[in-house]
Symmetry: C2
Subunit: 279 residues, 2 copies
């Protein structure tokens, strides 16, 4: 008796267009969809509670030997991303010796912020991890890394007197490459034993992405009905956000992991193992 | 800012046709669907973790003052139900003084079984509640109440040498009325403060039921792809299973609750409070 594949889903705004596609393409009939935060999805995948899941790029790198990646999908940006923002009381290249507060909700963004400060802006601030409360963060520190809703709010409604840096845009300006925030990972054992199921999931995800790319206006209207931002903001965000994972994106991911390794945030840089491509 | 209504869903086979309709009608875009067993859904609804949920009829009766019911939907049967089965080593009217094992997974079915034994077959067996393991139950007892998959398996593949009673059919034979196993309940406070949201959910559920009634062949094929029974069995089951809650069904529910009260399984029989109908 076959059992439905267990597919993870990120319950943040960035994956809302994909969810819309999954529902419209009736994918929820043939997978057990489990919604959670990215870090929880990574733990569930490694604990064999899920078969396929979007997980933070940095978590993939730490467990690459147990995982393979789906070839055509990732959460990525090629330029601005809008939802990962460094707010600072001084220009970023003057943050040396000062304190940067990092929202504790995204490891990949934290490492991205550390990389950009060390290598792009060439400064060495101190860091403190905190819950994502902007006011508290900026009371304690000279700059704050915001993620998700908080970042979007600040992106669209720039707080006066603060410098704001879109870390997707800064990454691409520095490297000339896209940035990959999350990848869809498959447990290696599942990919080996159930390749047909993995191919079916991949087809479903690709179908859902095609649907969502063709319906971004409707999705923006849908998002604005239930989430605290206007239609135009969503449309702009969903245009910035890519779900691509082609060759340049993979290059961007490898570069990101190499930089993370270089500043001591990752033990080793894995070769990307992609489902269906010979290693 | 509006938040999506939190709608419970029973994760058993009996609600699979409805789930199919919910997916096909894109309802999952506008509700937060939470899948669980019926008893868990009742607890979550009473604890304000859900706004609307299908819950066991007997649980509704125990908390009726906090709840109102949706008018057009219930899990019900008018005759056989197939998924609630009493298997017995002797004819049911000879079970007096013997032991009946009750699967501990459905309170409504347990009470139905007790009512039928006491009032329809007029016997007084002893009862023992157990996990739903047929072999263990029939090792310990002279009869076993089976529910769900176990009952369906026994319904379609009658075990030799045992008497089998479909409790939906027995109820209707005895009372001339349908049986209502679960009702869609709304927290009274939510129904009062968010009547438009409740109406929208009701419309969505009705639309999904209309869809599922029109596509029972496709749903049976879908079910057989993922669940351990053949297409024809599902088709037969989904024909037996009703989602109706019209006047005769409400009469059946009230009769059931009165009988439960009569044998000491329910403290009092509530008047049914239906959303949108004056009390």
């Amino acid at each position: 008796m076959a059992t439905r594949p267990r597919l993870g889903h990120i319950q943040f705004l960035n994956c809302l267009p994909l969810y819309y596609g999954l529902v419209k393409q009736d994918v929820l009939l043939d997978v057990d969809l489990v919604k959670a935060a990215p870090r929880s999805l990574a733990r569930m995948l490694l604990d064999d509670e899920l078969d396929v899941a979007p997980i933070p790029s940095i978590e993939y790198a730490r467990h690459a030997e147990e995982l393979v990646l789906l070839p055509d999908i990732a959460i990525s940006s090629d330029g601005e991303v809008q939802s990962i923002l460094l707010l600072s009381k001084v220009p970023a290249d003057e943050l040396g010796g000062r304190t940067v507060a990092l929202a504790d909700t995204s490891r990949t963004s934290q490492v991205l912020c550390r990389v950009l400060l060390a290598k792009h802006w060439r400064v060495e601030p101190g860091f403190v991890e905190e819950p994502p409360d902007v006011s508290a963060m900026l009371r304690d520190a000279d700059a704050a890394l915001l993620i998700g809703d908080d970042a979007l709010r600040a992106y669209w409604d720039r707080p006066e007197g603060l410098h704001a840096y879109d870390l997707g845009a800064e990454w691409t300006r520095w490297t000339g490459l896209p940035m990959v925030y999350a990848v869809w990972a498959v447990r290696r054992q599942y990919a080996t034993s159930q390749p047909d199921a993995v191919r079916t999931i991949l087809d479903s995800l690709n179908g859902s992405l095609a649907y969502c790319r063709a319906h971004l206006d409707a999705i923006s209207e849908y998002a604005a009905r239930w989430e605290p931002f206007p239609v135009e903001s969503f449309r702009s965000y969903f245009d910035a956000l890519q779900f691509r994972f082609g060759p340049r994106y993979r290059e961007g991911l490898t570069r990101y992991l190499a930089e993370a390794h270089d500043i001591g945030q990752l033990d080793s840089v894995p070769r990307l193992a992609i489902f269906g491509e010979s290693e």
